[in-house]
Amino acid sequence: MALMAAILLAGGVVLYVLLPVLTGESSPLDRLDDEATEEDSRRRVTLLALRDVEYDYVTGKLDELDYKSLRREISTEALEAMDRSASAAGTPPPASAGVATSERERLLEEEIQELRRGLKTGGLCPGCGAALAPGGHFCGRCGQALRAPPSGGDSAGTP
């Protein structure tokens, strides 16, 4: 009885583990299109820094002088990071194509405002980060189809 159970157990487990090698069934190994790239991470870091400076200024942790100089520095970093991120994603970088600095800053402000709207309505596009209209099935900016989330989380690796 015990021997039979042990053989069944071992056989079942070995078959389960070996099957992919025998049948060629495989796991994906490449990053999915909508996952963050290294350029996205850098862009995120700079935008976070920009928002931190805003918060520190509003709550009285930064002087106006420091605030303005920091904001100028980080805005430049943020714009460069956004350009790199856009290039990596295959979309034309708005800034590198000779767009004026003021125009780039306007784009940054727009992006920030969109993020703000997205946070208020609870949704941002997984592809481009734009704010989503409530109940929409596609992103209004990049056209990405919005699907139901798999059972992960914002970081699918988290418990």
Binding site: V13, R31, L48, R51, D52, Y55, L119, G129, G152
Partner: protein, 694 residues
């Protein structure tokens, strides 16, 4: 009985499956073969299934009194309550190593499942690393410390479980600590995967952010549960003795706390990449080291019942191997781990975080040194030098106070650079609160320097946190036109990590104040006959009188109890009764004490029945035989440690709570700033700043 036999077979099957999986995982990652990687991922699930079966086999052997197994014979007996028979799985070295492997397997399976369609570039290496750790523990479980080892004959009964382990915390404390130890393998595996795959940005931190917090939470609670256990069960009136195994559990917690803070600098500023990698490796090594200290028998401790030192060398070899390979990979990747940005000013939040890290590591190395010093001197000189609480307290109290102060400094300093004028303005109120409390306590008669510093700095930190909540709520209410309560709710829910973190800090402050109360413990030891009274003055000024009513005896399932009853009067008013016991377990020679505790918000009345003059005579109802010696203590604020732990739990749960909305699905979304509630300092716009907007 089929289950133990199948369990042992499952354990033997798990090892080749784990080895197969780890080889295929690394090969699959290297060659880009998805089929090999899938087979490796299935190996993880298969090992989990097999370890569940093995654990069920051990528990079944305990429940069915199968004393032919060495492990069951040594840690159980027929009279043992079912509750503790189930907990027998982690009562001794052999079972607890299987339990370690089981926890690791479950966490590994969860990591593989959650990442089945995400973070795929990391996964082959994550699976490989996890299976290497798993294979190591399986080798130990099978060849060095096998829970299924059979005796040459079947004894009629077992030797029973150590009486000190027969406490309900036995069912709670070790598993919680083990959950902390094992779950940290996941961030470690992702860090190594980042080094191996070359994806060295902050993605591995984003992916494992909640794992890190979860591990830290389990470690923190595991330590506090252990303190509570010691306080209730060990019967000396304290909760922490700087015992080697207590220290061993503290070490990874200190490293994890440093890591938890320094990852934020990498996330926000792209700095400290090498430091973070070093810390995650160090924390993992310390979790294994803690397991090694607990279960190797190398250092004598109340926790350590093992005799076999072979296991110690194997553990040391594994630790050395992991350290060499991990730090080797780190050195190999050094050129690609340069910081994106430099430190701009010493007066900045990142500097405060770095200082926090350095102090935490200072504490870590002091504790590590004090723990290992007796062992090292014994190795060189042959004689053991005891390092006791005075050394640890002398070193760690100032370090703890410095850390406490930094908890108040960090939130007030701006990132990058802060101006002195603003610092002075932001610190004025909290520092005043701290000074006023310190002064009031000093004027009230408190003369203990460290205690005064603890309460003063604690009040400063609490004031900082209250002001932060107030400013955030006011800013949000003003910008969004919300009522204060709604603004507070949105403030916290939109950036749970930050505000949950502040609540954790409140919990830590309350715990520290509980520690501070220990400076004023008072105690009296007195031998009394029934009808006589023990008198003791509380440090708050009131007086306790305990009238000894006598001893009653009873026989429980596996022991005899002598229960002393005392009437308690506070300033002459009766406030209830308290009982304290001696227990004689049938499997042991020495009786053990069960303390009586009467807890209030401000103090604990703690009664230890130290000795009974004539324990057998009590059965004959002779009054003289009931003469007993009691040790009575008043421990101020000790309850604050447990209340602080509750606050810490609430804060951690807030920080851990997952965000809502479609962003949960998105990797790219996580790279976008301000992505909802769980995002660190995810302030949404210049006009609605960090942590305020939403």
């Amino acid at each position: 009985m089929l289950l133990p036999v199948l369990g042992e077979f499952a354990l033997w099957t798990a090892l080749p499956i784990a080895i197969w999986g780890l080889v295929l995982a690394f090969l699959g990652g290297r060659w880009g073969r998805g089929d090999l990687v899938l087979s490796a991922e299935r190996s993880v699930h298969a090992v989990t299934f097999l370890l569940v079966l093995a654990s069920a086999g051990i528990i079944s052997a305990f429940l069915n009194d199968q004393y032919q197994y060495w492990y069951v014979y040594n840690y159980s007996n027929r009279e043992l309550a079912t509750f503790y028979k189930v907990a027998g799985l982690w009562a001794g070295q052999r079972g607890s190593l299987v339990f370690w492997a089981l926890n690791l397997a479950i966490f590994s399976s969860l990591a593989v499942y959650f990442n089945r369609a995400r973070n795929r570039e990391f996964m082959p290496y994550v699976v490989g690393v996890l299976l290497v750790i798993q294979a190591f523990f399986l080798i130990i479980c099978l060849f060095v410390s096998n829970a299924f080892e059979l005796l040459a004959f079947t004894p009629p009964d077992g030797r029973g479980l150590n009486p000190q382990l027969q406490n309900y915390w036995m069912v709670i404390h070790p598993p919680t600590l083990y959950l902390g130890f094992t779950s940290f393998s996941i961030p470690f595996a992702f860090a190594i995967a980042a080094l191996m795959s070359g994806r060295l940005d902050a993605r591995w931190i984003e992916v494992t952010r909640r794992w890190i917090l979860l591990s830290w939470f389990f470690l923190a609670n595991g330590i506090i549960f252990g303190m509570r256990w010691a306080y209730e069960e060990l019967g000396w009136g304290g909760y922490w003795f700087w015992d080697p195994v207590e220290n061993a559990s503290l070490l990874p917690w200190l490293a994890a706390t440093a890591f938890l803070h320094s990852v934020m600098i990498q996330e926000y500023r792209g700095m400290l990449k090498v430091w973070n990698m070093s810390l995650v490796i160090l924390t993992f090594l310390l979790t294994v080291f803690a397991t090694f200290l607990t279960r190797s028998g190398l250092i004598e401790s109340v926790h350590s019942f093992a005799q076999n030192l072979t296991i110690a060398w194997i553990f040391l070899g594994f630790l050395a191997g992991v350290a060499v390979i991990s730090y080797g990979l780190l050195i190999w990747r050094l050129p690609r781990l340069r910081s994106d940005q430099p430190f701009e000013s010493f007066v900045s939040r990142e500097s405060a975080f770095l200082l926090n890290n350095l102090i935490l590591l200072g504490a870590l190395f002091a504790v590590l040194w004090g723990t290992l010093f007796p062992l090292i001197t014994e190795g060189f000189t042959g004689s053991k030098v005891a390092v006791g609480p005075p050394f640890f307290n002398q070193v760690n109290i100032p370090i703890g106070l410095a850390l406490l102060a930094l908890m108040g400094v960090g939130p007030v300093i701006a990132w990058r650079r802060a101006s002195k004028r603003n610092l002075l303005r932001n610190f004025a109120l909290p520092v005043s609160v701290g000074l006023v409390l310190t002064l009031a306590l000093a004027l009230g008669g408190m003369r203990h320097g460290y205690a005064l510093a603890t309460f003063g700095i604690g009040a400063f930190v609490l004031a900082v946190i209250v002001v932060e909540f107030w400013k955030g709520t006011q800013a949000r209410a003003r910008i969004e036109g919300e009522g204060s309560l709604l603004a507070l709710f949105h403030l916290v829910s939109r950036n749970r990590r930050r505000w949950g973190g502040y609540i954790v800090h409140v919990g830590v402050v309350v715990i520290f104040m509980g520690f501070g109360g220990a400076a004023f413990d008072v105690e009296v030891r007195q031998s009394v006959l029934p009808g006589e009274t023990i008198s003791l003055a509380s440090p708050y000024g009131h007086r306790y009188e305990l009238t000894y009513e006598g001893i009653s005896t009873s026989r429980a399932q596996n022991m005899i109890q002598w229960v002393a009853l005392l009437q308690v009067y506070k300033d002459g008013e009766p406030v209830g009764t308290i009982t304290s016991e001696k227990r004689q377990y049938i499997t042991t020679q020495q009786p053990v004490s069960e303390v009586g505790i009467r807890s209030t918000l401000m103090e604990d009345l703690y009664v230890i029945l130290a000795t009974v003059d004539d324990m057998p005579g009590v059965f004959l109802n002779s009054p003289q035989s009931e003469r007993a010696t009691f040790q009575v203590m008043v421990n101020p604020l000790v309850g604050w440690i447990w209340y602080g732990a509750l606050i810490l739990t609430v804060g951690t749960l807030i920080a851990l709570w997952p965000p809502r909305g479609p962003l949960r699905a998105s990797g790219r979304g996580t790279a976008t700033p301000g992505v909802g509630a769980a995002h660190p300092r995810g302030d949404p716009s210049p006009s609605v700043p960090a942590g305020v907007g939403g």
